[in-house]
């Protein structure tokens, strides 16, 4: 069984379902990337995996354990970390405090991890005492990813981590994600910078209208002209 196995998820925000029998799986230490048009339900699927959405059907297991009924906080304690697409920083707290909050559930010394984050995003070290709300869009995004890395999760979920970050930082970020995966952490991310993302992905999911349209290895999806044309911008 996969490390994360979210199968046949069906549900939505109100009466109408957004997700229809949607399945996502990530193996241990692998990177899975979700792509798809806007409004396909990618973020919704992420929220569902994280327990922020009530599912009408389907089930989520982590490392073989059924976590379908758990609250988001409980999932955090099971080793899941999440960077939402929007509202992903604490605006009136300093950058450093944002990172500390990422480490909230950790009882060990997290100063090394913080140093690692600062090494990854040097601008954050410079702005460590500034409130996150006063940062530029791309800087915030870096704070958001940094916060999730602080958790030292077993499964890291990123909803468009590279939206708004400069190419150089994006490269750094993808590099870092690969490194993280190498340490055995599983990664599930949504990306619109899909070509770069699929390049490093073990597994790719194309979601359309809340359902799985294509599922294959990242390379295979990249190679599929139909997928390239309709979803990856040619």
């Amino acid at each position: 069984m996969s490390f994360l196995d979210a199968s046949s998820m069906t549900g939505g925000y109100g009466a109408a379902d957004i997700l229809h029998d949607c399945t996502l799986k990530v193996e241990k230490g692998q990177i899975a990337v979700i792509v798809g048009p806007n409004g396909a339900g990618k973020s919704t699927a992420m929220k569902a995996v994280f327990g922020m959405l009530r599912l009408r059907a389907g089930k989520v297991t982590l490392d073989g354990e059924d976590i379908t009924g758990l609250s988001p906080q409980e999932r955090v304690r099971k080793g899941m970390g999440f960077v939402p697409q929007v509202n992903n920083v604490f605006p009136t707290m300093s950058v450093e405090e944002n990172l500390e909050m990422g480490a909230f559930i950790r009882t060990d010394d997290f100063r090394d991890t913080m140093e690692q984050v600062y090494d990854l995003f040097p601008i954050l070290r410079e702005k460590r005492f500034q409130n996150a709300g006063e940062l530029s869009g791309g800087q915030r995004q870096q704070v958001a990813v940094g916060r999730a890395l602080m958790t030292k999760p077993k499964l890291l979920m990123l909803d468009e981590p590279t939206a708004g970050v400069s190419p150089i930082v994006m490269d750094e970020l993808f590099d870092r994600i690969i490194e993280v995966a190498r340490t055995g952490i599983s990664i599930l991310m949504v990306e619109q910078n899909a070509r770069q993302a699929l390049e490093i992905a073990d597994m790719g999911y194309v979601l359309v209208q809340g359902a799985n349209r294509y599922t294959d290895t990242g390379a295979a999806l990249m190679a599929d002209p139909e997928v390239r044309r309709t979803f990856l911008g040619g």
Binding site: G39, Q85, G164, P167, D171, N193
Partner: protein, 262 residues
Amino acid sequence: MIRVENLHKHFGGFHAVDGASLEIATGSITGLIGPNGAGKSTLFNVIAGVHKPTSGTVTMDGEDITGLPPHELFHKGLLRTFQIAHEFPTMTVRENLMMVPGGQTGETLWNAWFQRGRIAEEEAALLKKADEVLDFLTISHLKDERAGNLSGGQKKLLELGRTMMVEAKIVFLDEVGAGVNRTLLNTIGDAIVRLNKERGYTFCVIEHDMDFIGRLCDPVIVMAEGKVLAEGTPDTIMQNEAVIEAYLGRGLKNKVKTGAAQ
């Protein structure tokens, strides 16, 4: 058309824009790129009247527009989108668009009470226009949805859609592409080119997607640390060592993914 001279914007002791001077020529699609925190959005905000500059001037067609409030700039034909989407969350998507055009008859109370015939006509026209825009953005199925319920990318589309509701002289787009599906972004790029060619809109575009910039923009202005670092055609810019160093980078170090499971 737009001329920015020696502009400074300080937040406390921090110089977000630090003496930038640049020009956006009429009829161009000017790209504005630069590292995160370079001061691009701040520059936009100063031009669009959201922030008062610490010093420096902004002129539009020779007229000093420094510090004018945003709503006056709108009526001068200067439109902008926001990097972090600013939709009207409790209104429907369609209403989000219909509210845009200025000088609507029904916007004064007196007319709202006593000019209902004229308002009805105008509304019908607005509705048609809004539906066209929604069609173009591929979100017409959402026209009666509350804008607050849109997905991240859909909000960005709506952001763009608003600028398409009126005739504009110059449109400032702050990362319309971030979070937008690349296939759709291509279509948007085409539309920008079309608006530029057919209706003579001037664009100034902030974007981190270099494909997009390369395809659309000429010239491209690079900002770093609040100043203009370089300016030129996309090709020269992408070869510029300083720009590569500060912004573009040299691609992934770990070209090949070798996960533990493989």
